[in-house]
């Protein structure tokens, strides 16, 4: 079993921090404006979140062993990133008040919300209790045919819940 270990987390976080350093120093074409800088930071937050979630899902599925040192580093680095992004957002707020609406600010606010959701009430990953994620089942062509042959719901089917039914109609109209 491979492990997303301390060194891999450290290297990943260092890479993201270096990218943000370059951006804030005005290096690279993608950070020429405050709006672009905010967007860049939002993207890096999203990338970080996805890596943390992927690591957690890998532990959940038994694809990697849980390493408490790696977890502590994920949390510490994510907290640092959160503070850094908050500071950048403050700059964005000041710029927006004095000039115009910044699309990047909206993106960063959304990313910050996601970072906050991950950090607040942090869930330590562990191997799944239920079998679906961790049990390595070798599916056969017969299994796949069985799934393909599952009957559809009746043509006039609609959810019992009126809110679901209304939303389903809206989605189908789109």
């Amino acid at each position: 079993m491979t492990t997303f270990d301390f060194n891999q987390v450290r290297d990943f976080a260092a890479g993201v921090n270096a990218e943000l350093d370059q951006c804030e120093n005005g290096e690279g074409a993608q950070c020429r404006t405050i709006d672009a800088t905010l967007s860049y930071c939002a993207e890096r937050c999203g990338k970080f979140i996805e890596e943390v979630r992927k690591w957690g899902r890998d532990v959940f599925a038994g694809r990697v062993a849980f390493d408490p040192a790696a977890e502590q580093l994920w949390k510490a680095e994510l907290s640092q990133l959160y503070l850094r992004a908050i500071n950048l957002l403050t700059l964005g707020n000041q710029a927006e008040q004095s000039c115009f609406v910044l699309d990047g600010k909206r993106k960063l606010e959304s990313s910050l919300w996601n970072v906050h959701q991950l950090l607040d009430g942090w869930v330590t990953p562990k191997l799944s209790v239920g079998p679906s994620a961790r049990q390595k089942v070798v599916f056969t062509d017969a299994d796949r045919r069985r799934i393909e042959s599952l009957p559809s719901l009746p043509a006039d089917w609609t959810p019992d819940d009126p809110h679901q039914a209304a939303q389903l109609r809206r989605f189908k109209e789109l």
Partner: protein, 174 residues
């Protein structure tokens, strides 16, 4: 209660910090497996995956059960690699069993899965999966009444829980 007339439940989406979640964790489940799934798997599926959870209230606004759904890739070998809806866990309050609430909860979760399969932008596969241990005879009967079919007639073996289980599935769109 007749099968075609499930009890009415009022779904309320809850998060991990919701008082209802903590209350549900203290229900006296006959099978300790349910409690472990609730305390360990559900938080991970919500925080690290795409999991959502509902508490279900009766007409007197008493909490009579809960249900959860995730969009994951646990059985994506059967869905052409596409993420699919999955029911990690649902349960009726042990004090409210035998009144048809289980069927109402399953039907609500099927409705949610249908929405996930038609949502604009990133719809998931239209086959909904769940796992059930072979010892849960009543649950298997409930799922079959709600339209789920066993993937195989012979159960699979869960190496860690040392129990046999069925993978069940159904198409959730007309």
């Amino acid at each position: 209660m007749a099968d075609h007339s499930p009890a009415v439940v009022i779904p309320t989406q809850i998060h991990l910090k919701h008082g209802l979640f903590r209350a549900i964790c203290h229900w006296p489940f006959a099978d300790s497996f349910v409690g472990r799934l609730l305390r360990y798997d559900i938080p991970q599926r919500i925080k690290l995956g795409n999991g959502r959870m509902w508490a279900y209230l009766d007409a007197a606004h008493e909490v009579i059960g809960f249900g959860s759904i995730d969009v994951c890739s646990d059985y994506s070998d059967l869905t052409g690699g596409k993420p699919h809806p999955y029911i990690p866990l649902l349960a009726v309050n042990p004090e409210s069993e035998g009144r048809g609430y289980g069927k109402a909860i399953v039907r609500h979760l099927i409705g949610e899965a249908a929405l996930l399969a038609v949502q604009p932008g990133n719809p998931c596969h239209d086959v909904l999966f769940l796992d059930v241990y072979t010892t849960s005879v009543r649950a298997i009967g409930l799922y079959e009444k709600c339209g789920f079919l066993k993937l195989r007639d012979q159960p699979l073996f869960d190496d860690i829980e040392q129990q046999t289980y069925f993978i069940m599935s159904q198409r959730i769109l007309p």
